[in-house]
């Protein structure tokens, strides 16, 4: 019985790891020749499509292993990384290609006040302390900042 219970737990953990693994894997891009950080902070929903298009085009052009792309969302742009966002299928696909998604914690706190509860984020999003700080740090590391 204990073995069966352990097996169930193992399957559970493995399943969760499998579906949440892409973000972790994506952090490692040893062969990347280009490093790009994409900013989305605009309330215009068209910008959500645009930033995803840009990321997709970068991956297509250079190849998933040759380009390191991180999308940083803050301010109204954080809605891109909401769990129910209509673009979640595309986000999943890009994450599988190694694109990383960062969500601003300052914005999260602010939105939590407005909503009365913390917004649920896409499982591919990694919460960073501040979106703008994340961008500054990445630029300091040689990333090119693009704001579509």
């Amino acid at each position: 019985m204990k073995i069966r219970l352990s097996t169930a737990i193992l399957w559970c953990v493995l399943s969760m790891l499998f579906f949440g693994a892409s973000a972790v894997q994506a952090e490692d891009k040893p062969f990347a020749e280009k490093r790009v950080v994409l900013q989305i902070s605009d309330p215009n929903p068209f910008k959500q499509t645009l930033v995803l298009n840009v990321a997709s085009n970068l991956v297509k052009h250079y190849g998933p292993d040759r380009v390191d792309v991180e999308i940083v969302a803050f301010g109204p742009g954080l809605r891109l990384l909401f769990a129910d966002n209509d673009n979640k299928g595309r986000i999943q696909g890009l994450a599988a290609s190694g694109v990383r998604f960062s969500a601003c914690n300052n914005t999260m706190k602010n939105m939590t006040k407005q909503l009365g509860e913390a917004p649920k984020l896409n499982s591919n999003a990694k919460v960073v302390k501040a979106g703008v700080v994340q961008i500054v740090d990445l630029v300091g590391q040689g990333y090119i900042l693009v704001k579509p």
Partner: protein, 448 residues
């Protein structure tokens, strides 16, 4: 106990995985109910201004009645005052979105009509609100939409008019589904054939706008996806009073709709797929049954409509077919604004308890490598079926072409070959319908 624990653990585990893997239904581009009633989750603004303008020229080639005058089918609507007419038939502006963008669970839809058509003409041409609704997306698989909006129903009526592939509706949709309302003085004399320039009497005797396939009420609906297969349902309760906000009686209309669609790809109003659907509408209308002028004896009259059909769209081909039937409150012409009761309930020719049915088949071909498409539609409408004297059969073949200037703008040209027959060879009807000829039209549409 251990069994329960293991089951609970497995269920929790499966639940946690499902939470991450099973997508919620995307609200975008599912079908007309979803397109008009929902927004893209967390991907829509506070207020998107949108609308469209349609202008047209129609030319009716019909010859006049033997007395030199004209009946409504020989004149261009909605005014029925000419056989050659330029018209801005639709000019709509609206706004839709989520009032509080952080919460996608509530969205709204507002639209007003400024053009000259059946919605506005009867009310003196003033602008009229056609849609004003709020959708609540809180309950899984049971979205709730409330307010004024298009009711679940036939494809031709439910679809967005700015992507409609023809200039004019089929006869069955125009006459049987597009509801006109009884005037207050139901025994007003039917209007005889008119001079096209009129002599002070409008042949369109209706005093309220058409329902425009809309009603005020509450609808529960949603789409459930199984991969590329979508199942959609809707149930609604409404006033049964069209665009006329408020009701004239206590009886409410009920509406039902089911569809199954295999989605091929694309999005929006021209998404490709194969769909089958069925629908029903049922309600009552309050009608004055007292023949004496000034006296009132209101009674409820049943109004039932139902239909089923299929649509296939995969470029370069489009095929649509739909059958509809109706019972009660059968509109018998713009000149018979009282449904032709003639003072005697249930008399021959009365639309109050009349029956009707009809169908259409539509074929479209998008010419590969071009921005052009050609359209062909055949429609039949049997009005007052089984009536001893006044059964009429309308048959129209429409040849059309469209040129898409861009994704938002196009020009359409139609040529309608029309035939109207008195099934019972009623001498009066035969005389009226003699000379009904083809109708040609050109229409531009610009969506913004």
């Amino acid at each position: 106990m251990k069994k329960i624990s293991r089951f609970a653990l497995a269920a929790a585990c499966a639940g946690s995985v499902l939470t991450f893997t099973v997508p919620m239904k995307d609200a975008d581009a599912a079908n007309w109910l979803m397109l008009q009633g929902t927004e893209r989750s967390s991907a829509v603004g506070r207020a998107k201004v949108w609308g469209f303008v349609q202008g047209q020229m129609q030319y009716d080639f019909s010859d006049p009645h033997t007395n030199g005058k004209y009946i409504p089918p020989k004149l261009i609507g909605p005014n029925l005052t000419s056989q050659k007419q330029f018209n801005v038939n639709r000019a709509r502006i609206g706004v839709r979105g989520t009032g509080f963008p952080l919460d996608s669970k509530v969205n709204y839809f507002l639209l007003a009509e400024f053009g000259n058509n059946g919605i506005t003409a009867a009310d003196g041409g003033a602008a009229k609100m056609t849609d004003a609704s709020v959708t609540f997306n809180h309950i899984p698989f049971a979205r709730v939409r409330a307010g004024l909006f298009k009711t679940p129903g036939a494809e031709e009526g439910l679809q967005a008019i700015h992507v409609f592939d023809y200039v004019n509706f089929t006869n069955v949709t125009n006459q049987m589904l597009l509801e006109r309302f009884v005037v207050k003085d139901r025994f007003g004399a039917p209007l005889n054939p008119q001079n096209p320039d009129l002599t002070g009497i409008a042949p369109n005797g209706l005093e309220r706008g058409v329902a425009a396939f809309r009603d005020v009420g509450v609808q529960v609906f949603d789409t459930i996806s199984f991969g590329k297969l979508e199942l959609t349902y809707a149930g609604m309760v409404g006033n049964g009073n069209g665009l006329n906000v408020g009701d004239y009686g206590d009886q409410k209309d009920v509406y039902g709709y089911l569809s199954a669609e295999q989605v091929f790809g694309g999005k929006g109003g021209r998404r490709e797929g194969a769909k089958v659907f069925a629908w029903m509408q049922q309600g009552k209308r309050l009608v004055d049954m007292d023949a004496a002028e000034g006296a009132v004896r209101n009674e409820y009259v049943d109004r039932k409509r139902m239909g089923a059909g299929a649509k296939y769209l995969k470029k370069p081909f489009r095929v649509t077919a739909e059958y509809m039937a109706g019972e009660g409150m059968i509109f018998v012409g713009a000149h018979k604004q009282n449904f032709d009761m003639d003072g005697i309930t249930n008399a021959d020719g009365s639309g109050l308890d009349g029956k009707a049915n009809g169908f259409y088949a539509d074929f479209g071909f998008y010419i590969p490598g071009t921005k052009a498409e050609i359209d062909l539609r055949y429609d039949v409408y049997n009005r007052l079926v089984d009536d001893a004297k006044f059964e009429v059969k309308y048959t129209t073949t429409t040849i059309g072409a469209q040129y898409h200037l861009n994704k938002k703008s196009r020009v359409a040209a139609n040529y309608e070959i029309r035939k109207i027959e008195s099934v019972n060879d009623n001498a009066g009807l035969v005389a009226n319908f003699e000379g009904v000829g083809p109708r040609a039209s050109v229409q531009f549409t610009a969506i913004y």
